[in-house]
Structures are given as structure tokens and as C-alpha cells.
Subunit: 386 residues, 2 copies
């Protein structure tokens, strides 16, 4: 398509008419920026001297109406459109591998309404999650989707790929907080999903936008359920000699509904490598962090009940400090300089199963990875959470 300069300029000028000349780019440097996300694939392509997959046009729309017009142009010329939020995806989902229009949504960054009685916020989908969080924090509220990517990812970027944050164990996934959304369909039609969730008048058809990563429509606005900022956050770390016992402790804490906002268990290998590198502790065994929040008395009681279970399963209390340090540095795992990066090749997979299969699954994956790629001396490390 870009071969045909006349056609290419025609499309560019039509797009420019919608958003204005200042909000469209075909500069090579901009194209390169939008050809890499947080996944390892583009880094590998670069490393191997291969060309990156670049978009043909980078467009910065200011409204759903503009997006609607852009989609009509894309339909007319049959060219791909890729919505782009913070570019922090780890699976390459937003890479413009077929070129076309890269739709950067970050100008849609307005907070429309914070309702302090209903504990909801209505905001445009291009707002950075942390900025939204700071705004609701000022009212004593929080949006409990605490993603590792919050400082660069957008609200839409949390919803479209069904994001899960650090405190989802108590507060749910991003999708669980959505009350309603505004979506621009591929046809250009702008729709609003029902104002209230969990009615029983037919299926929740609108949930198909969650996880569709823009393919069924571009999320441009969402009303999210908020929570009160918790009065207290109690964190603690516990060390288990034995992974099985730690998993059983976690299962009991969860099935007894002791309501931790976080419970995260590092396997012995990640305890040895990641916990040492990020937090500076040297432990042998499986490192578990657990946290309880909300009313201080209730949180303390829940914590003591959970700790009883851990003790019974052979867990050794490491005290508050390593738990609090983990909380403070929880995003350092994913940012330079401490994140895993080339020349370390790596891939991240998330797997979900029921309690009866967790340990079996862990060993099956570990053996498959380490046994299957022996010649590369591959190491599998993992943690259990959410």
C-alpha cells in the first residue's frame, strides 16, 4: 500500500482532515516508536537485524466521534487499525504487524465524573491508570486495579486485554470493576453499554469487548467501581521450606475467605533469584507475601487467622519488613534496571487452574520447559498469585 504514494497521501490527508495536521504522523522515527511494545518479539527482531513491523499512519484522535470517522476511512480503504494505549503489553497484542493506522488513544484522557456517594469514576479510556488513581486518591478513594504497568498503561489498556492487578485477590480484575463502557464499533457506530451491570434482562453481551483487544470495538470511555482507600494495609512475609505446604496454606487461606488483598508465593528458584535481586533478601525456600487491608481491627484479625494456618503448615514468620519492602518495590520486578531483559531471553506465561491441579501443573510446566530446552540451559521460575 505504501508503495502507491498517491493513494498513501490521499489516505493521510483524509485522516488529517479528521484530526488536524498536528495529530497525524508518518515520520519514520514515530513509526519506530510504535513498532515496539513490552514484549520480547520486537527486541528479538532488532537483535537479529530484521525489520520491525511499523504502522503507516499514527493518528491521535481527540474524541469518539473522530475515531468513528477514522474507522470509516479505514473501512473504505480496507486498511487495518490498531488501538494503542501505553504500549506496555507483554504479549505483542498491539504491534501493528499488518501496518495500517495506529490509533494512539492517550488524548482521550479526561476524568468526566467522580461520584463519591456511589464510589464510581467515569473517565475516558486513554487516561494513564496512575493519573486516574491519583485523582481518586484525593477523594479518599482508589481504583483497585494495581497493575505493574499502571504508570504507563491506560484505562482502556487494562480493560481490552482483561488485565489483572496486584491486589485482585480481594478486589477482582479490571473487568470486574466495569459498570459500563462507551465503545466505537468497527462500523464507526458509537454505543453505550447498559448503565448498570449485573441486571438479569438477557446476557451481558457487552462483556465480549473485554478481552477482544479492540477487535470487536474500541473502548473509549468506562465507568469504574471504586473502593475506599483502606485505612490500613498489613503486609508480612513467610518462608516455607516446602512448596507443597505453602500451596496448601494458600488454599486454606483462600477457601476460608480470610480475604487477603494479596497473597503471592515465589517458588524456591524465584526466591533465590528475583527476591534476592529486587529485595536483597537471601532465603532458601518458598517466599510468601500476604497482605490484609481495610478496617484495622478486621485486617489484623484476618491476618492472625491466616498466620495460624501458615504456622500449622510449617511457615516461618519473617515479619512485616520483608512484606512491606515487597509492597514498596512490587513494580521494580518489571522496570529497568532490575527487570529481566536481553541478552536474557525470556517469556512469561500465565496459567490458571483449580486448587487440586496447581502443584501438578507447576511441575509439568517446569519439566516441559527445562527438559524440552536442555541444550539452552533454560531455567523456569514461577510464582503463584491472584
Amino acid at each position: 500500500m505504501t508503495q502507491n504514494l498517491f493513494l498513501s497521501e490521499m489516505i493521510r490527508s483524509e485522516l488529517a482532515e479528521v484530526v488536524g495536521e498536528d495529530f497525524i504522523s508518518v515520520a519514520e522515527s514515530d513509526k519506530l516508536v510504535y513498532s515496539t511494545d513490552w514484549s520480547w518479539m520486537p527486541q528479538m527482531w532488532l537483535d537479529r537485524g530484521k525489520p520491525l513491523a511499523t504502522p503507516d499512519y499514527i493518528v491521535y484522535p481527540a474524541s469518539p466521534a473522530e475515531i468513528s470517522e477514522i474507522l470509516e476511512i479505514a473501512n473504505k480503504y480496507r486498511i487495518p487499525v490498531v488501538p494503542w494505549g501505553g504500549g506496555s503489553g507483554t504479549q505483542g497484542g498491539a504491534l501493528p504487524i499488518f501496518g495500517g493506522i495506529l490509533l494512539d488513544l492517550k488524548r482521550l484522557d479526561k476524568i468526566i465524573e467522580i461520584d463519591e456517594k456511589s464510589l464510581t469514576v467515569r473517565a475516558q479510556a486513554g487516561i494513564i491508570i496512575s493519573q486516574l488513581e491519583w485523582a481518586v486518591n484525593e477523594k479518599g478513594l482508589m481504583l483497585p486495579h494495581y497493575a505493574a504497568s499502571s504508570n504507563c498503561a491506560t484505562l482502556g489498556g487494562a480493560l481490552a486485554p482483561r488485565g489483572t492487578g496486584t491486589i485482585s485477590t480481594k478486589y477482582g480484575k479490571a473487568e470486574d470493576m466495569v459498570l459500563n463502557m462507551e465503545v466505537v464499533l468497527p462500523t464507526g457506530e458509537i454505543i453505550h453499554t447498559p448503565l448498570v451491570p449485573q441486571h438479569a434482562s438477557g446476557p451481558d453481551w457487552w462483556r465480549i469487548f473485554l478481552g477482544a483487544e479492540g477487535t470487536f470495538g474500541i473502548i473509549t470511555e468506562a465507568t469504574m467501581q471504586l473502593d475506599l482507600l483502606p485505612e490500613s494495609r498489613l503486609l508480612r512475609a513467610i518462608l516455607f521450606e516446602n512448596l507443597s505446604d505453602a500451596l496448601e496454606a494458600g488454599r486454606q487461606i483462600m477457601t476460608r475467605r480470610l480475604n487477603p488483598f494479596v497473597i503471592r508465593l515465589y517458588d524456591p528458584e524465584s526466591t533465590r533469584s528475583r527476591i534476592k535481586k529486587i529485595l536483597g533478601y537471601e532465603y532458601e525456600g518458598a517466599y510468601m507475601v500476604m497482605g490484609f487491608d481495610g478496617d484495622p481491627e478486621i485486617a489484623a484479625l484476618e491476618e492472625s487467622k491466616a498466620f495460624e494456618i501458615c504456622e500449622k503448615m510449617g511457615g516461618r514468620d519473617l515479619g512485616r519488613e520483608p512484606g512491606e519492602s515487597w509492597w514498596q518495590h512490587r513494580y521494580d520486578f518489571y522496570y529497568p534496571p532490575k527487570n529481566l531483559k536481553l541478552p536474557w531471553m525470556y517469556g512469561t506465561t500465565e496459567t490458571i487452574t483449580t486448587y487440586d491441579k496447581i502443584e501438578k501443573l507447576y511441575w509439568a510446566v517446569k519439566n516441559a520447559v527445562e527438559g524440552g530446552f536442555k541444550e539452552w540451559d533454560v531455567q523456569f521460575i514461577g510464582h503463584f498469585s491472584h
Copy 2:
């Protein structure tokens, strides 16, 4: 269609070949049984001497494979199929208003597996909810969908219309407990939805079966998330002079996540009429029941925090007895002899909104109903819950 006796008998015999002669009926008495559910419409038709909408064939399949064959026959002859569970629907959704095949699913009543480690049960969709509950109770577990219709409704009947039970405030709606389902599609194809929920590999497309009431497919089996039977259940009733204050107390209890398993507020009219009739108490004001369950110490602490809020909002403690009596008689509201029935004409509506609009919505509906039908001396009563 039934005019043509030859065609009618041809279809009947094809269906009989699938399920066997013992499991199909065209008897008038059976047809009448399946022409009334728990909604007031068929009662009104009877009352006015109008004919009921009856099915042409009542079929009792024993397996998804038989259902698949039945749907193929229905497709061939282009006749409607209505799945039927306990027949306890209050909105007429299962009435065979276009005739055709009435598919009674209650022979699909097997419990396939109870997993005491993962806290799950896999069962066929035609099992009566209470029977399933008794079976898991024997293992110290519960399926926390405590619907008023549990004694006659089926598991599929809880899922297909997105049922909500009495203790959903803590445990969620029936649909929130589904891990996966087996569904027979209208084409006859039998599918199994993903084994694990809440993955992030694309949208949860299978949720469209929840709320579709059989139109997108017939649910024949489900794996449900269970909970431990709570060690304690603390119930209490509180009386508020003022509905606004009671609603504000409820809002604070919920937004502070004090985690009641039930919180139900009767408006002054239903306190005066229903609470008096069912529980025998005579109170003026808004009657609130709240319950906390699980670990006895945590439940007691949550209750005391919630009670503090109620006191601050002017609530008067009525003690445990009226709360426990409500729990014991909670289904009496809906069963003879105390349920509302003809010659009392009534309709039930469920409305959902955000906290900021609850009271306004209540008065708007009340005024619309009572003002709009003044000549009938209509009374609107309501409660707030879930």
C-alpha cells in the same frame, strides 16, 4: 400444526424413538401442568376463562446426546423448543407460548464429581438445587446460591436466567460461581466451555449462555465453585424510623466492605404488611436484616462494626431473634399459604442502580405505580437487597 394429525404423530414418534415411549407425553393433563409457571400470567388467563398456551409434546430426555437429537428433529420440522427446569420462574420465561416441544430437563439430575480440595461440584443441570445443596453439605460444603425457589428450581434454572440468591451480597450470583458448562447448541452440537474461568485469552464468549434462557443453547451440565459451610451465621434485625437513614447505613456497610452475607431492608409498607404477616412482628419503620458468617470471631467483629454504623444512623437494635426468625422463614414469603396470590393481583420487578440514585428511584417507581393506577387503589411495597 396439531391440526395435521398425521404430521403431529410423525413428529411424536420420531421424538419417542429418541427418548423411548415412557419419556414423551401428549396427554392433555400433562400439557396443562407445563402451561403454568410461578408467574401471574397463566393464573390470569385461567381467571378470565382464556385458554392456556400448551406445548404439543412434553419430552423427558436423559442425556445431552438425546437433547441433541431432539433439537435436530425440531430443526427439521421448524418447531419451537422450550427447556423447562423446576417451572418456578416468576416472569413467564419458560411458558410454551408458541407450543412445540417442552423439554423437561429434570432427568439430568446426576452429581458427577465433588472436589473437596478445589471446592467444586460438577453436576447435571436438571438437578434440584436443594438436592445438590444437601449432597455438598454432607462434605461440609455449600453452593452459596440460596434462591427462594431452591426446593423446586434446577441448577440450569439458576444459570439460564441469571438467578440471584439470598446470600449473594457476599457470595455472588449463580453465574459468578460457574467454572464451566456443557451446552447443547440450537444446531444440536454439544460444546464444553473452557475448564477454567477468568483466563485472559480472549473474551468470555460463553457468558452469553447466562441470561439467554435457553435461546442460545441448552445448559446440560455445570461445574460450580463451592464454599465451606460457614462455622457461624450471625443474624440481627435493626429498625430505622427513616428510610433514608437506613439506606445510608446500608451504603456505608457495603462500601466499607464489612462483608455481610445478607443485608435486606424492607420499606415501611412492607414492614407493616409482609414482616407482620410472615414473622408476626408489628413495627413502624424500615426493618433491616443483616447477617455475617464464616469464622466466628471475624463475623462478630464485622457485625459490631456494621452495628456501629447503624446506631450512628439512628437504627434501633431489635436483637438476634428477629434476624434469626427471618433467616428461618426467609422462603415463607414466596410459598403458600403466605405468599401473595390471586385475588391479589401483583407484579414483581427488580431494579438495579448505583447508590446515589437508590432512594430517588424508589420514590419514582412508587409514585408511578401508586399514582398511575389510582383507580385500582394499588399499593407499592419494596425491599432493598443484594
